[in-house]
Structures are given as structure tokens and as C-alpha cells.
């Protein structure tokens, strides 16, 4: 008996999204099974996730807070992946962005007392620039020297990690602890709870401006990809680099530009995290946002608005997942989700048949 794949040529429009959702459901079933295997209670675990992520306004706010860095890094990955540029370095770009934004306050680059209206944009700029630099390196190596960006972006993740650790344990360390001084209030991104004085219902809601950034960037990206010449070129390169070259597009330049933008977006994510949530720089500032972003981008099939939705889902997973035993389960679920998406990809592109062999391989 042999597995036989035939290209599927007549799939209706709804086929792809339905298959993706089916894959997601499948992944949860498998994960539930594994949880049960190692002695946990899957129903309890999943209900716990739903409740602790969406059970009340307060926790919904927390979920959105967790989703914000995911949106930005997810968009970063989605943009790069559209062009088959494997940016595995969103994690490192995120960290560099966090560092760059922190440098504005901690170095200090702007003196203390500078009003928020100047500090915040400066931090955004610094975060994007630092992340963009971290994207530029693998981009130029790939464009000029044909070096595989998978390896370079990954290695730069580790370098970024140690870089941040150096500053957090060293020059910026507060009293020898692996964290810095807290940022002054001017460097805090406005949060809903700041308006509690006028709207008492908003007290305790820590959703911050970063969420608006994220959604704004998603909108801009959608318009750029679908309605501009630049976006058309990216779609063309992603589908057929040879055809793109034949059409006169300078692919190498695009590679660098896209990598820089991708890095800058991830860096912006880092900035939003330090300015909106942590209000300082810490050692473990990212629980793997940059890696989860890869899965988010894939799940969303690189569509900007779908990235936002997927980020909320994963934000819920991360938030609630901290309390799930055993602790490796959320990471495992992510792997299973990605495999399920890949599997659904196969089913979308091909019809699978079990046949008597035409001629055995």
C-alpha cells in the first residue's frame, strides 16, 4: 500500500481556513492526550486556560498584554516568511529592541525629566533601530554572500541574549541583581488603568499603548502587501524569485530591506514590552516570544490581521500556561500545533490517496 499525493486544483475558498482551524483542533486533542499520558487532567487544563485567559475583563486585559509583543514579533516573522526569508532571529531582535529602548532612559541618552512626549517616540525609534540593525546583519550576509539566514539569525539570538545579560548584570544592574532601575513615569507607555481616575471601571487594566501600535502596524502591513507596488513585488519574490528577477525586481535589495523592517518590528515589540509592562530591563524579559512568533506567523499564513488573532490565542496559552504542570507542556503544544499546521498545508495542496502502487519507489 502506498501513499499517493495529487495536486489539488479545485479547492473552494473556504477550504484553507477550515483546514487550519481543523489542524488547531487536532493539535489540542493530541496535546490533551499527552497531558493525560503524563498524569495530568486535560479537561481541567484546558478549562483552566480558557478561564484564566478570558474569564473576566481583568484577565482578558492580561491576555492582551501578553499578546502585544506577540503581535509585533508575529508581524515581523510573517513579513519575512512571505519572501521565504527564514527570520528565526525575532527573539534576538526583540531583545536588542528592548535594550535600545532602555538605553534611552538608562544610559541615559535623554536626560531625566524629559517629557514623555519626547521620550516615548525616542524609545520607539531606538528600539526599532536596534532591532533593525539586528535584522540588517543576516540580511546583508544573505543578499551579498548567499549565507543561510537560518544559521545567522539563530546565532544572533544567543549573542543578543548575552548582550542584554551583560548590561543587566553589569553597568545597569541595580544593586547586583539581574534587573535595572525602574523607568521614570515619562518612559511608561500609557495604560488603560492610568485613566482610572476618570473611568473607574478601567482600574487594574494593564493593557497599554503597545497594543494600538501592533494593530496599527498590522493595518499598514496589510495595505502595503495587498495594495502597493512594493507589496506586489514581495509577493512575486516569495512565489518565484526567478520570475521576479525576470520582471526586473532587485531581489537583493528587497532582502535587506525586508530583513531590516522585520528586525525593526520585532525591536518595536521589545520596546513595547519594556516601556509598557516591565518598566525596566530584566534578564528573562522574553519567555520565547520570538519563537512563538514563528508559529503564529505560520498559523496565520502570513496574513497581518490573522496574526493579531493568532497572537491573542497564544497570549492566552502563555498566560495560562505558566500554571500548567508539567511545565514543558506549552512548549510541546506549540510544536504540535506547528506540525498540525504543516500537515494541514499538505492536505490543502494535495489530495491524499492510499493506492496500489503505480510502481514502487
Amino acid at each position: 500500500m502506498n501513499l499517493h499525493l495529487e495536486p489539488r486544483t479545485d479547492a473552494p475558498r473556504w477550504f484553507s481556513p477550515v483546514m487550519t482551524l481543523a489542524a488547531l483542533a487536532f493539535a489540542f486533542v493530541i496535546s490533551g492526550f499527552i497531558i493525560w499520558l503524563v498524569g495530568g487532567d486535560p479537561i481541567k487544563s484546558f478549562t483552566h486556560i480558557l478561564v484564566s485567559a478570558f474569564g473576566s475583563v481583568g484577565v482578558v486585559s492580561d491576555t492582551l498584554v501578553k499578546a502585544t509583543p506577540l503581535i509585533l514579533t508575529g508581524l515581523a516573522c510573517a513579513l519575512a516568511f512571505r519572501m521565504h526569508l527564514w527570520n528565526i532571529g525575532a527573539e534576538g531582535q526583540f531583545l536588542l529592541g528592548a535594550w535600545g529602548a532602555s538605553a534611552i532612559v538608562l544610559a541615559p541618552i535623554l536626560p531625566a525629566g524629559t517629557p514623555g512626549i519626547v521620550v516615548i517616540p525616542a524609545m520607539m525609534l531606538a528600539g526599532a533601530a536596534a532591532g533593525g540593525l539586528w535584522g540588517f546583519i543576516p540580511g546583508i550576509l544573505r543578499a551579498r554572500l548567499g549565507v543561510s539566514e537560518i544559521i545567522t539569525t539563530l546565532m544572533l539570538n544567543y549573542v543578543a541574549l548575552f548582550w542584554v545579560q551583560f548590561w543587566v548584570f553589569g553597568p545597569w544592574s541595580k544593586g547586583g541583581f539581574p534587573e535595572t532601575e525602574a523607568f521614570p513615569p515619562e518612559a511608561w507607555l500609557p495604560r488603560l488603568t492610568d485613566l482610572a481616575a476618570s473611568f473607574p471601571g478601567l482600574a487594574g487594566l494593564t493593557v497599554h499603548l503597545g497594543l494600538i501600535f501592533g494593530i496599527g502596524v498590522a493595518t499598514v502591513m496589510w495595505v502595503a502587501l495587498e495594495r502597493t507596488r512594493w507589496g506586489y513585488e514581495i509577493r512575486l519574490i516569495g512565489d518565484s524569485p526567478k520570475a521576479a528577477r525576470y520582471a526586473g525586481i532587485d531581489i537583493n535589495r528587497k532582502i535587506v530591506v525586508v530583513f531590516v523592517i522585520s528586525g525593526a518590528l520585532a525591536g518595536l515589540g521589545g520596546m513595547s514590552e519594556v516601556a509598557g509592562v516591565v518598566h525596566g530591563l530584566q534578564d528573562r524579559i522574553s519567555p520565547g516570544y520570538g519563537f512563538t512568533a514563528i508559529i503564529i506567523a505560520y498559523l496565520a499564513r502570513f496574513g497581518p490581521f490573522r496574526v493579531v488573532i493568532a497572537s491573542i490565542l497564544f497570549g492566552a496559552l502563555i498566560l495560562a500556561g505558566r500554571e500548567i504542570q508539567p511545565s514543558g507542556v506549552p512548549a510541546m503544544i506549540q510544536g504540535i500545533i506547528l506540525f498540525s499546521i504543516i500537515g494541514s498545508d499538505v492536505l490543502i495542496r494535495y489530495r491524499v490517496r492510499f493506492d496500489r502502487p503505480v510502481a514502487t519507489a
Binding site: 554572500l145 548575552f162 551583560f166 514563528i294
Partner: protein
């Protein structure tokens, strides 16, 4: 901190990278890119440690580690060979899966101490040969000796045997191999499995031989990725991989050693433990990988050799030209 000790420790530490890199060379030579090496190494590490702990027999641990790696690699194999999924993404998914699984299985293992380790061996007489003796043949784990044998065996197998010819054909021109009756799918599954076995072995080498103990994710700490980079630097040759492995092993070992010294060339050592400057030291291996990958890529372009021509592309019978 003399050269001999550094090299000896480099060889030991490099053995980890060597197993993983040679495993990946086999897989890639057959045309399948497997980026899940980090995940397979972690699974191997935790499986090996856990079995050794519960049975008291480190050899059983080694076997368990290899099987765990091999099993995990088959998920990637099915996805990419039969289901024609994108090899890059599948490999990444494998890493996530392996990492997560390893965390789950490794719960509570961290506290285990005094797990039986593999024996160390010193070769009599030969270990007195200057330089070669003390570095290669003195007080090295038995797995290091396995590595010594693996390198020439792999090199001969690939380049000088009939099965090796078939392997290379499958990776360079699978349509040609298929037309000659060579089973392309079968070959690829086999070598992806071998890659998984060796990655699992690499993981066991960490926890049962070179750096005993289980430290969660830190156990492998990116070595799987370094191995993937090494394959490019090695230009898919086991001999060059060995050279690269020793080089990086020495770098990793030096990082540890430098931190133990009080003065360097008369200046106070800024890299002592607890000093923040040590982080720059830790960056070194990862920066070096970037350097060697760049070197490897340039060389491939210059010499017009390079990756197996069919690497990364699923094989579909009957897909030809227009």
C-alpha cells in the same frame, strides 16, 4: 591552561558536535535538511540520562538516547519525504516539539546526582606519544573513541562504497537514482533515521559523558544549531566536520577555562566568574559559527561544489522540466 589540556578537553567537548554534525551530514547528503537537531539532542540527552538513572546502566542510557533521537527524526521524515512539507519549517517544528517533550520528560530529573557515567579509557603505550597521546588517547570517555572511529567510517562509507554512491546520487539527482531502481524514499528515511540516532547519541554524550547531569534547556544550549552550521563549514565532508568540531570544542572549553584564571598575560582577568564581562566570552562560539558559515558559503561559491543539489526539495516521481 596549557595547550594539551585545552586540546584534550576540546576533543572531548567536540565529540558532541561531531556526532550531531555527522548525523546531519548523512541526512543532508540524501537531500533532506533536518533542522531539528537541537530538539533531537535534547530528547537524547534527557532519555539517556533518565534511563541511566533508573537502570543504573549508562550503556542502556546511550541506546535509549539513540532510539529516542531516531524516533523523533521519523516525524520529520514522514512530513518531508512522503507528505512533501517544507523541510525548514518541519525541522523547526521538530525543535519545538523535542524541546517541549524534553522539558516534560525531564521534570524532576535535575536533582538527580551521581548517575552512573560511561567509563573513561586511556590507551596504554600509545598515550605516551607526544602531543597525540595526551590529547587524544588519555583519559577520554569511551564515546570519544567511538567518535575517532566514526569519522573515517563515515568518510569511507560516503565516498568509497557502493551504498555511499547511491546515497550521493539520491541527494544530487534523485530522478536519476530512481530511474536506476534505487529507492529514493527508502534511502532518505534511512539516512534521516541515522541522523536522528547520531543526534540522540550526541545528547547522551553530554549528559552521560562530557558534562554529566541534566540542566533543562541549558543542557544542549544551542549546540544543535552550531552543528548545523558546522555542516556547511565542513562542506558536507566528515573529515572537515571533525576539524570544525574540535575547533568549537576547544572554544567552548576555553570559555570555561579562561574564567578560572586570575591573570592573563600579566593583566587581571576581566572574565572571572561573576564579572559581567564573561558574557562577551560566552558570545564567542556563536559569533564564530557565523564566521565559519560565511567562510563555508564563500568557498562553495568559489569551488562550485556545495550542498547536495537536491537538498531541501521533496522528490516527486515524474516531475520533470516542462
Amino acid at each position: 591552561m596549557d595547550l594539551t589540556t585545552i586540546l584534550a578537553a576540546g576533543v572531548a567537548s567536540g565529540t558532541i558536535l561531531l556526532f550531531a554534525a555527522i548525523g546531519e551530514i548523512f541526512a543532508e547528503r540524501s537531500g533532506v535538511l533536518n533542522l531539528g537537531v537541537e530538539g533531537m539532542m535534547l530528547i537524547g540527552a534527557v532519555a539517556g540520562f533518565s534511563i541511566a538513572m533508573s537502570t543504573g546502566n549508562p550503556w542502556l542510557g546511550v541506546v535509549a538516547a539513540m532510539l529516542a533521537g531516531g524516533l523523533l527524526s521519523m516525524v520529520h521524515g514522514v512530513m518531508t519525504i512522503h507528505l512533501r512539507a517544507d523541510q525548514v519549517v518541519s525541522g523547526l517544528a521538530l525543535t519545538f516539539l523535542g524541546t517541549g517533550l524534553a522539558r516534560v520528560l525531564g521534570e524532576g530529573l535535575a536533582s538527580a546526582k551521581d548517575v552512573a557515567q560511561l567509563p573513561h579509557v586511556t590507551v596504554p603505550v600509545l598515550s605516551d606519544i607526544p602531543l597525540v597521546g595526551p590529547v587524544l588517547l588519555t583519559d577520554q570517555s569511551v564515546l570519544v573513541y567511538v567518535g575517532y572511529v566514526l569519522v573515517p567510517v563515515a568518510w569511507l562509507w560516503i565516498g568509497r562504497t557502493r551504498p555511499g554512491l547511491h546515497l550521493r546520487a539520491v541527494g544530487e539527482a534523485p530522478a536519476a537514482a530512481d530511474a536506476q531502481g534505487i529507492g529514493v524514499y527508502r534511502t532518505r528515511y534511512a539516512y534521516v533515521f541515522v541522523g536522528g540516532l547520531l543526534a540522540g547519541l550526541a545528547g547522551a554524550t553530554i549528559t552521560l559523558a562530557i558534562y554529566p547531569g541534566w540542566f533543562g534547556d541549558q543542557t544542549v544550549n544551542g549546540r544543535g544549531w552550531i552543528a548545523v552550521g558546522l555542516v556547511i563549514f565542513a562542506q558536507w565532508s566528515p573529515l572537515r566536520a571533525a576539524f570544525g568540531a574540535v575547533l568549537f570544542g576547544a572554544i567552548f572549553q576555553s570559555i570555561i577555562d579562561i574564567q578560572g584564571v586570575t591573570t592573563i598575560f600579566g593583566f587581571e582577568n576581566p572574565f572571572q566568574p561573576g564579572r559581567s564581562a564573561t558574557f562577551f566570552l560566552e558570545m564567542l562560539p556563536y559569533l564564530m559559527v557565523i564566521v565559519v558559515v560565511v567562510i563555508g558559503s564563500r568557498e562553495a561559491v568559489r569551488k562550485r561544489i556545495g550542498a547536495p543539489a537536491a537538498l531541501g526539495r521533496p522528490y516527486v516521481r515524474g516531475e520533470r522540466g516542462s
